[in-house]
Each structure stands twice: as structure tokens, then as C-alpha cells.
């Protein structure tokens, strides 16, 4: 977390912060699922992903 946000985050009162962190984590978890769900769709298609260099 960038220092500015960190400072802001540390100033939020505990009960609110707990609520926010649970809500934020839940949303991020759902977003993670959303992205991986999309990846599963994409990798089944014939379009090949770009690979910048063959090591």
C-alpha cells in the first residue's frame, strides 16, 4: 500500500476499518474470481496469446 494510503488507513477507527477491510477483501476475492473465470474462457479459444520473446 502506498505511504499516503497507509497513513490514511491507519487513521480510520478500528470498527470501521474492520468492516472496510472485510468488505474490500470480499470484493477483491470476487474480482479475482472474475478475472480467472475470464482467463479460463480465453485460453479455450483458438486465439494465441502474445509472447514477447521465446527464451
Amino acid at each position: 500500500m502506498p505511504p499516503v494510503l497507509r497513513k490514511f488507513w491507519d487513521q480510520i477507527p478500528a470498527p470501521t476499518a474492520t468492516l472496510l477491510s472485510h468488505a474490500g477483501s470480499l470484493v477483491v476475492g470476487i474480482l479475482t474470481a472474475f478475472v480467472l473465470h475470464y482467463v479460463l474462457y480465453r485460453i479455450g479459444l483458438p486465439s494465441k496469446p502474445f509472447i514477447y520473446v521465446a527464451f
Partner: protein
Amino acid sequence: MIFTTYWFFAFTALTLAVYWLLPVATLRWWFLAAACTVFHGHFAGPAGMAPIVVLMVITYVAGFSRQKWACLAAMILCALTLCFYKYALFFIGIVIEPLSSGFAAQLTDAAKKIMPGAPPLGISFFAFEFVHYLFDLRRGGEPIRHPVKFLLFSIFFPSLVAGPIKRYPQFLAALETGSRRLVAGNFADGLRRIAIGFAKKVAIADNLTFLIDHQQPQFAALGLFDRWVFLAMLAFRILLDFSGYSDIAIGVAKLFGVDLPENFNWPYLARNIQDFWQRWHISLSSWIRDYIYIPLGGSRHGPVRRVTNGLIAFGLCGLWHGPAWNFVIWGLYHGVGLALCATYEKIPGVGPAISGVFKREPTIGFVLTQIFVWLGWLVFFYPVAEALKMARLLFGL
């Protein structure tokens, strides 16, 4: 790309489940080593695995012996193997071809007969990690005695194909610590990181590729602003693609409790070229620093040697990206950039003045650095003549 296969997803999920169901860390290591072998075999095939296994055994034995000459011999073998599989045809083309095209053709045919269709999977990474291991042993490091741990260091599947290039002390420490118990935080961080990596790569970089491929043929016809937008797309495509790949590798390792080294740290915020190379492909640039630049003498023998060493190191860094001239030139371009960055302050009169400007207005350094780096991508991706033409057009010339 290995990460964009269902096999990879299924393998990771299954391996992860069994890994954490096993009751003790030792069993987890044995199981993970077996799983990594299966993974390597699946993607590399027997022909791709064989040279790696040979190198791995030789490296292990040489390290185990702790004989300096054995380590040196093994390092040379690793370097020669890499050169053979990846650069033999390129070297024949640049060294033999000008002398005798007939002999070059014969050599090319002979090399093609004994070489597989493609270099063994991840050969560049194996060679670099083995050389690092052997080099550090020669400097007094402790060898990895446990064969399973050595196997894990060698073919740990998340970093098998495109890094980050690991350092064995950190890797073993991370493995020892992380595999002791399942930590929900690791799991959550890993998943998050994997998602970020895929989003960068699949959702953004791949779409930038489409736009780049669409606009490149008509680059000359684009307006000046659009040409710079094109360059930005080129720059962000490679950043998002490669750092996305690293994110996935780091995230997957994290699911197993293992911390891999970071590979990118906001490189397009760098304020000078030196800063850029401490933020871009960090595991490679630090490898080049530790195992090429410093052994060559680094900055210890005066400015001429310093610049020469830098050019050699970055020429090789460029060549590492692929056996083609444009990669070498890209490396040398950065070598020159670093040399300028490191020496301009010593130019009498002008140097301190410029340095003063950069200190007062850091934004100028940032802008110049990004222009330099982004222009470099033209040489990286396109033939040199084409890249130069595009660079001229960017400045309306």
C-alpha cells in the same frame, strides 16, 4: 504460454491440494519435487528434459564436490550448452558465414541434425540459475546437499519457463519457511497476484498487441501524436505482458508458501537508466551485474574499463533475449545509456550543470529516461532499419 493452459490450472489445483494435505514439510518437498518433474516432462518432453537433467546432475555433483575446478567446468558446460542450443546457428551466421558460406551451410545442416526443433524449455533460465549456484559455491557458498531441495531449486515449476531467476539461498529459505504450514494470507496473496498477472497479460497486453499489429504497417501515415501513442502501447505491452507473467509465477509460488524474488518495480517511474535497470527484469539485471559485470572488473579499473564492461554485460543481456542482432543492439543501446548516465557528471563544465538541472527538476530526468527506454523498444521489436525509420518519424524527421 504454459500459464494459459487448462493443464496448468488443473495441475496447480491438484498439486496444491495434495501438497497441503501432506502432514509434514519433508513430505511436501518430496511430493512437490515429483510434481515439478511431471510438469517439466509434460511441457518439455523427453528431448527437452534430457539436456536439463544432465546439466542438473553435473551441477549437483560439481557443487557437492566443492572443488573449484569442478564448479568452473560445470559453469563452462552450462554456458556452452546454452550457446549450443540457443545461439549455434546465430554464431555460425555471423562468424563462419562471412569467411566461407559453403562451410557455414554444412555446419548449419550438421547443427540442425543434432539439435531439437526448438531449444529445451527454459534453457536460458536453467543455465543462469546453475551458473549462479556454481559461482556462489566457488565464492564459498554452502552447497545444497539434499537432492530433493536441489531438484526443487532447479525445476520449481512456477518459475520454470520465464523466471524470475532465483538465487538459491533465498529460495531455500523461502521453501523451508513457507512449506511448514498453510497460511491463509499466502493463499489469498497468491490468488490476488495471479489474477493481477492474468489481467495484465490476457486482458490488456494481448489487446495492445492487436492495436500494435494493426497500426504498425501504417506507422508513417499516422499523425505525430498517434505515433507516440503507438510507442506508448509498445512500451506498455511488453511491461504488462512480462510483468504479468512474473506476477503469475510469483503468485503461484506463493500458493505453495514460497516467496520468489520480485522482477518489476514500476520501471516506467524510473528517473534515470540506472534506476530503470533496478526496476526492470530485476532478477536478470542483478544476475548480469553479479555474474558478468562485476567479474569482468565492474567499475574498479577506471572509466574506460567500466564503460567497456558495461557494454559487454549489456550486449550479452541483449543477446540473452534472443539470437538476433536487434537484441544485441538493444542491449548495447542500454549499455551506452548507462555509461552516459554514470559519467556525464564528470564532463568538465557541462556535467555538473546538467546534473544540477536534473536535481532541481527531476521530471526532466524522468521524461528523458522514458523516451530513451521507449525508443529502445523499437529496436527490440523491429529490424534495426525499420526501428530507425520509426524513430525518425516520431520526431517528425
